[in-house]
């Protein structure tokens, strides 16, 4: 039997071959067309199959109809004035008033600055990532609950050779591996970037967020170095009165693994359990959680082709959205991505 997908494939071929809209309509949407016949014949098949094929066929019919309608209206746009983009402009581009950069850009710049001063450089990596880099190389055991810490978006893989599952990276840490595979220690770099979590959106969580990853690999790097670096960063960003505290945690790619908090910059660590006096930013705890860190796991060093008997390293991941929200007192993460002119013009 011909499937709705077969019909759609043929439709796409016709679109590429520029078959006119009128013909397409007759071929795909008329009463006798294979797709419509298929839809009409659904009543004769068993209910379970009917629902499945029916919903697929209907969706494809909708897509075909939308596309044809658009092609149809293209011909109606013919009266548009032609623009010659290659014509060199005589006038200069007019600036009425300067534009505004996004608070996330400013927060990223402020977060990056102290590290650049120390001598770190910046690396980047893809957001559509292989499971191999997002998990396996980072020492996440196969079929282990550690993989549930971050809810992952998986994507359909249209490649011919599928060597590893495709997903949207859940952290910037895969870039540790990617960058180290092409360089040698000592290495000190940062990775600012977007990551994805398949989580319900609320005032402090979105299904995409921004992180700044840091990696230092050298001889004799210690946990004490990591604590100094994080303290230096926090004080550079928020002032000398702000301290860090660390707590044990678990991330498969570091050992030991820690979680980092810093003094609440609003109540300056006063906290309070009194409902009326409770600081709304730190919820009365006096501390704000900013990210995770730790000493690079020997298995991860090995996956980077780094000799783990000579080198050690630290890594950290900090939340940039949280930093932007703190610096500019933005109460809800969603406000940052609605792109209302009145929001952007404030910065």
């Amino acid at each position: 039997m011909i499937t709705p997908e077969d019909i759609f494939a043929q439709f796409e071929k016709d679109i590429k071959a520029s078959v006119p809209a009128v013909e397409l309509k007759a071929k795909y949407l008329s009463r006798k067309s294979p797709l419509i016949s298929l839809l009409r014949s659904l009543k004769d098949i068993e209910p379970e199959k009917r629902r499945l094929i029916g919903s697929r066929a209907n969706k494809i019919r909708q897509d075909i109809e939308d596309t044809i309608n658009r092609l149809d209206s293209i011909s109606h746009n013919a009266n548009e004035e032609t623009i010659d983009w290659s014509k060199s402009a005589e006038a200069k581009w007019q600036v009425e008033s300067p534009g505004h950069l996004h608070p996330l850009t400013y927060a990223t710049r402020r977060a990056v600055e102290p590290f650049l001063r120390l001598g770190f450089y910046i690396e980047r990596g893809p957001e559509v990532e292989f499971s191999l880099y997002n998990f396996d190389f980072l020492n996440f055991p196969p079929n282990h609950p550690a993989r549930d810490i971050q809810d992952t978006f998986y994507v359909e893989d249209l490649r011919e050779q599928k060597d590893s599952d495709l997903l949207l990276r859940t952290h910037t840490s895969p870039v540790q591996i990617r960058a180290m595979k092409k360089s040698r220690p000592p290495a000190y770099f940062l990775v600012p970037g977007r990551v994805y979590r398949n989580e319900a959106t609320d005032a402090s969580h979105g299904c995409f967020l921004h992180q700044i990853e840091g990696l230092a690999i050298d001889k004799g790097i210690s946990l004490g170095n990591l604590l100094w670096t994080l303290d230096y960063f926090t004080k550079s960003l928020f002032g000398q009165q702000i301290n860090i505290r660390v707590r044990p945690s678990y991330f498969p790619f570091v050992e030991p693994g820690i979680e980092i908090d810093f003094t609440c910059i609003i109540c300056l660590g006063k906290g309070s359990n009194d409902d009326n006096k409770r600081c709304s930013v730190c919820k009365g705890k006096g501390w704000i959680e900013i990210g995770g860190a730790g000493m690079v796991h020997p298995n991860v060093l090995a996956n980077m082709n780094v000799d783990n008997s000579i080198y050690t390293g630290f890594a950290f991941g900090l939340g940039l959205d949280r930093i932007a929200m703190l610096i500019y007192s933005i109460p809800d993460i969603r406000f940052m991505f609605e792109n209302d002119i009145r929001f952007i013009e404030q910065f």
Binding site: D63, L71, S73, I74, N77, A78, E80, T82, I83, W85, S86, A89, K92, W93, V95, G99, H100, Y106, E113, L116, L118, G119, Y121, I122, P126, E127, N143, H144, P145, A146, F153, Y154, E156, L158, L166, R194, F208, G220, S222, L223, G224, N225, L227, T229, D231, P248, Y250, E255, P256, P298, T312, S329, P331, N339, I341, R342, F343, I344, Q346, F347
Partner: protein, 778 residues
């Protein structure tokens, strides 16, 4: 995971104060989400004793009880069916409120006057629903205040990381607290009974030894399945669990105490007294306890009798063999299952239970023994049953690792000179066997419950956290500075600065696009990436271009501003010729756009040091769609919007869009130094009104002093819902001033606006000596 503080104290008398427990856990062990206390939420509950029960003369389902509450005898009508003469029960008298706030009054129920109410856990506020009156211990004193006796027990919500399965029990937390205080908690010290009696009647056959390395069966006869005792019920309520019956409650209680998931079967539902641990045959079916029927695969481990599966191993029991009120003979399972096998099935079927959660995180190989013993003791007490015996079937287990631990390397990794004796003490307290090969090199065997300790760095972490992470001194790093001015990220920042300087605003959009938008661009030959598990249908595709979401921004803001030129820089990805492509893109949208104005394009080329070759290629977006080539390679496009495109994004204004892949072009940008500018003054975000704005242009006869007017604007902005004021034009002796109004509370009416305008006009006339001409409405 919830931890009852009083139960913790019962298990480990050395448990410190609640605050100290939290401190120890948070700074040295695991995160604590919250603590709360669970007092009784109903008022003035008195303990009563039922001295008489009579059927209600006018209602089949009701009973009339006579209750002794100490100084008085009360007649109370009751609908529950678990009450018996002689029981002690919680009573609420008229004039008091139950947990949901309802006031109890003396009232006549079907002709019988009822002088109060017997309480279930629901009325007491301990659970959301209940199946009967809470039965109290017989030694509770009649007439005493139950609120006081119940107290205000504390509950701790601990967030255990996936590597620490050993902490998923009260005993595990107690053992950790002991170690953190330099103490060692005694082993429960429970041993199995001799198993001969059971062996005659039940046989266990492990056919999948790699998936199940231990299976202990305890066999009970003559059990009475009733409600469990107050003591067990109390702990289950504190832990947010619902008591079911004395056998199931004991299995749940022992699991929270020791961490070993247990399962109880009705022995008489088993065919041939046989318990087989095996993988399912593909296609076998099993009706689970929660009523759902599952189709099994050959990777699913099951417990079966001689004929069919009776439980999904380590996850959930089957309905057919469940304990019911008619059960007399009980079989109790305590097993050690392979975490990965349990996890695969749990993931595949989307079933997570307290049992599977623990098995996935590794349960100590030795726990089935002690938990069988504890559970056996409690089941015989609770059900008055007889234990007929216990049998244990063991298969080979992997040996505990022997870890070479070098003190000086560990100290180097921490960056602190921690004493050798301290290393030894910490590891010993945590249950490790420490063997000193040399003064510096130790051989360490971790305890059976710590499968997460495998390499020397794992032990370093243990020492560092117990020593105190915040006691480690901070050590500066020193490195050679590298020049960053040529790296892509810095050049992107330079590009952003250039665009902002030229009047463009930066937007940051989601990376997801709608199905409708994905289809639109599919006709260009761009295959978007489909998200297999999107959060919502509107977010089901990964953006192949920044353009679609930028157009949504235009659509959203076109009524808010006369001009809103925007740009975005971000990653886009798509499939092309079976290859995955991802690159960093710059998109620009400008409205209003004057036809044939190519000045932006010119400026961009100059900045990028690139020369664009433009080749028109009409498509859905516009007949004026033009591909941009640099050095004969396509890098992007520039276009206006066709009517079709305007309809798709609901755009009414003439708009120019451009999107180019920038990575290859950035190298031409000359950056002299790294310049990461940001506003030096403090900016505090101001909330936005949800209500629409209203624009009014007012003409004044006469010229206005612009400098003076700027000061005036600052003075009046924010007053009378005035969002903005600007001089639109000064022409031919006429000054046009534009007022924008918007309220935070409501949509402004015409009358309100006119009143505001009239007030403002008067002030302007007075301050600037000009005259209002006519009102021009937009």
């Amino acid at each position: 995971m919830l931890i009852s503080y009083e139960l913790l104290k019962e298990i480990f008398p050395g448990t410190p104060s609640l605050d100290k427990v939290l401190d120890l856990l948070i700074y040295k062990s695991v995160e604590v989400d919250a603590t709360f206390s669970l007092p009784i939420k109903a008022e003035n509950i008195i303990i009563g004793q039922i001295i008489e029960i009579k059927p209600h003369p006018n209602a089949d389902r009701l009973q009339v009880t006579t209750v002794d509450i100490g100084n008085q005898i009360k007649t109370i009508v009751c609908g529950a069916n678990n009450i018996k003469i002689g029981q002690k029960i919680p009573v609420i008298l008229p004039g008091n409120k139950v947990a949901n706030g309802m006031l109890i009054e003396k009232r006549t129920v079907r002709g019988i006057e009822s002088d109060g109410m017997l309480c279930s856990t629901e009325e007491l506020g301990l659970s959301d629903s209940s199946s009967g009156i809470l039965i109290l211990p017989v030694d509770f004193e009649i007439g005493s205040n139950f609120n006081k006796i119940w107290g205000s027990p504390d509950v701790i919500n601990v967030s255990v990381t996936p590597n620490r399965g050993d902490l998923l029990s009260h005993y595990g937390i107690a053992r950790e607290l002991a170690a953190l205080q330099g103490d060692i908690l005694k082993e429960p010290g429970l041993s199995l009974l001799s198993g001969s009696a059971a062996r005659d009647k039940i046989s266990v056959d492990i056919k999948a030894p790699k998936a199940c390395s231990k299976y202990i069966v305890s066999y009970f006869t003559n059990c009475a399945i009733l409600e469990s005792s107050y003591r067990i019920q109390r702990q289950l309520y504190l832990l947010g669990q619902r008591p079911l019956n004395n056998v199931v409650d004991v299995t749940n209680y022992v699991m929270t105490v020791l961490g070993q998931p247990l399962h109880a079967f009705d022995k008489n539902k088993l065919k041939d007294n046989l318990i087989i641990v095996r993988f399912a045959s593909s296609g076998e079916k099993l009706l689970l306890l929660d009523g759902q029927e599952i189709k099994l695969k050959d990777t699913d481990l099951v417990i079966a009798d001689s004929q069919k599966p009776i439980a999904l191993a380590g996850i959930m029991g089957g309905k057919d063999s469940a304990i019911s009120e008619n059960t007399t003979d009980v079989i109790l399972e305590a097993a050690h299952f392979n975490p990965q096998v349990i996890r695969s099935t749990s993931k595949r079927l989307h079933i997570t239970t307290d049992a599977s959660y623990r098995f996935e995180r590794f349960v100590d190989y030795n726990l089935p023994d002690s938990s069988s013993s504890l559970a056996a003791k409690m089941i015989t007490q609770e059900t008055s049953g007889i234990i007929a015996g216990q049998i244990s079937v063991n298969k080979a287990v992997s040996k505990l690792p022997n870890i070479v631990y070098k003190i000086d390397e560990s100290n180097l990794l921490i960056g602190e000179n921690i004493d050798r004796s301290e290393h030894t003490n910490i590891l010993t307290n945590l249950g490790c066997k420490v063997h000193k090969d040399t003064p510096n090199i130790y051989a360490i065997t971790p305890p059976s419950w710590r499968h997460d300790l495998n390499i020397s760095e794992d032990l370093t972490e243990e020492v560092a956290r117990v020593y105190g992470l915040n006691n480690i001194s901070k050590k500066p790093i020193s490195l050679k500075t590298t020049s960053n001015k040529d790296i892509i990220e810095i050049k992107i920042q330079a590009l952003k600065d250039m665009l902002a300087k030229n009047g463009l605003n930066e937007v940051v959009n989601s990376s997801f696009i709608t199905h409708k938008d994905a289809i639109f661009f599919k006709s260009f030959g761009i295959a978007s990436i489909h998200i297999l598990n999107p959060v919502s249908p509107e977010n089901s595709w990964f953006r192949p271009l920044l353009t679609p979401n930028l157009l949504h921004n235009i659509s959203k803001n076109q009524h808010e501003a006369e001009r809103f030129p925007v740009f975005e820089i971000g990653n886009v990805a798509y499939f092309k010729n079976d290859q995955l492509n991802e690159n960093t893109s710059l998109a620009v949208a400008i409205f209003p756009f004057n036809m044939n104005d190519t000045s932006f394009l010119k400026m961009l080329q100059e900045f990028l040091g690139a020369s664009f070759e433009c080749k028109p290629e009409p498509n859905l977006l516009s007949d004026n769609f033009t591909l941009i080539y640099v050095n004969s390679k396509p890098v992007g496009y520039v276009s206006d919007l066709s009517d079709t495109a305007k309809k798709q994004w609901k755009i009414k204004v003439p708009t120019m869009v451009l999107e180019i892949s920038i990575e290859s072009l950035l190298s031409n940008i000359k950056t002299k130094k790294v310049d990461l500018g940001y506003p030096k003054q403090a900016i505090i975000y101001k909330p936005l009104s949800k209500f629409p704005r209203v624009v009014r242009d007012i003409n004044f006869i006469g010229q206005i002093n612009e400098d003076k007017f700027l000061g005036f604007i600052t003075d009046i902005k924010g007053q009378e819902d005035l969002e903005n004021v600007s001089i639109l034009s000064i022409y031919n002796g006429i000054t046009t001033i534009r007022f924008t109004f918007r309220s935070f509370e409501k949509t402004l009416t015409d009358a309100e606006i006119s009143q505001n305008i009239s007030n403002l006009t008067k002030r302007i006339e007075k301050s600037f000596n000009i005259k209002n001409q006519v009102i021009v409405e937009e």
